[in-house]
């Protein structure tokens, strides 16, 4: 890949991933209890952790999304979103494997009846995008090999 095409790819990924996560965080901002119910339905986290987790997700997604979008600490933002998207994938895969009906709640809980397979596919794509973005942005700071 040429330097220019890598730059275009990075810009495109930053716009899409940053935008998607900012939107996802914003969509959940007023859905505290509904999102907590969604998280609880996965039966992974203990009750004591659910509310602190739910409260931190919205600022985390908006903050990391803004980092990726603006370019300030974009590697940190990309890695944070990679961890988050991977976490969603694992949680959805576990729920599907155990035959639990869940409402992902990823973009707010309004999407009642959403298909968990579609949610999983979308989160896998996002995780892959974050991984590529983190790789590209990390490579740009790695020292060049000596000639």
């Amino acid at each position: 890949m040429t330097g220019r095409s890598t730059r275009y790819l990075e810009w495109m990924l930053r716009l899409v991933i940053g935008g998607v996560f900012i939107y996802a965080g914003w969509a959940k901002r007023n859905e505290g209890i509904e999102f907590a119910d969604s998280v609880a339905s996965f039966r992974i986290l203990p009750g004591a952790v659910i509310v602190p987790f739910v409260l931190s997700i919205v600022p985390f997604e908006i903050g990391a999304g803004a980092m990726v979008l603006t370019g300030w600490q974009k590697r940190v933002g990309a890695l944070g979103l990679l961890i988050m998207a991977s976490m969603y994938c694992v949680a959805l895969a576990l729920a599907l494997a155990r035959g639990i009906t869940v409402n992902c709640g990823c973009f707010g809980t309004g999407a009642v009846g959403a298909n968990p397979w579609i949610d999983l596919g979308r989160d896998l794509l996002l995780a892959a995008g974050c991984a590529v973005l983190y790789r590209i942005t990390s490579r740009s700071v790695a020292p060049k090999p000596a000639l």
Partner: protein
């Protein structure tokens, strides 16, 4: 070596972001008009707590309410002998509901019940049908159980719910 140092730096950055997000979330929650309790309560626990504000009732238990099929529900719409209740949250009710249905949401049960009390008390002998989103939706059964514990006896659940109603192409009200 430099790459692993970069990765360690980034992981530390993510951890700082996570801590800052948690603190921001706690502050925003504290400033809310109705903050989320820090220990999660299941919908059943929340409904039980709401019920205790209405009556001195025994602990909330999920009861077996009768169900009603779609065809029968269609026939009772508008017969003035049946009250249809929508157990979904108000924003969903507002987007569309079964014609004539009243909103008695599971999450805001006590407030909605107080608002609807004159209508419900006047119709204690009438049949009540409750629905929610449909599928595995648990809310209609919980609201039905709450009404049974409040002394209503002719309570049935339409398990097809909103999705069953709309998928059948039946009229909706907004």
């Amino acid at each position: 070596m430099a790459r692993s140092r970069t990765f360690t730096h980034d992981i530390l950055g993510v951890m700082c972001l996570a801590v800052a997000s948690l603190l921001a979330g706690l502050v925003v929650n504290y400033l809310r008009a109705a903050p989320l309790p820090l220990v999660y309560q299941t919908p059943e626990q929340r409904l039980a707590a709401e019920l205790t504000t209405l009556v001195e009732a025994p602990a909330f238990r999920l009861s077996d309410a009768d169900t009603i099929p779609l065809a029968q529900l269609r026939s009772v719409i508008g017969d003035h002998q049946t009250i249809i209740l929508d157990a979904r949250a108000f924003p969903f009710y507002q987007q569309g509901h079964i014609p004539g249905a009243l909103n008695l949401s599971r999450d805001d049960f006590a407030a909605d019940y107080r608002r609807l009390r004159p209508t419900l008390d006047a119709a204690k002998d009438k049949s009540i049908v409750i629905y929610c989103s449909g599928g595995d939706c648990h809310d209609s059964r919980m609201v039905a159980s709450a009404l049974l514990s409040l002394g209503f006896s002719h309570v049935r659940v339409f398990t097809g719910g909103w999705s069953g109603w709309t998928e059948a192409g039946l009229p909706v009200e907004k």
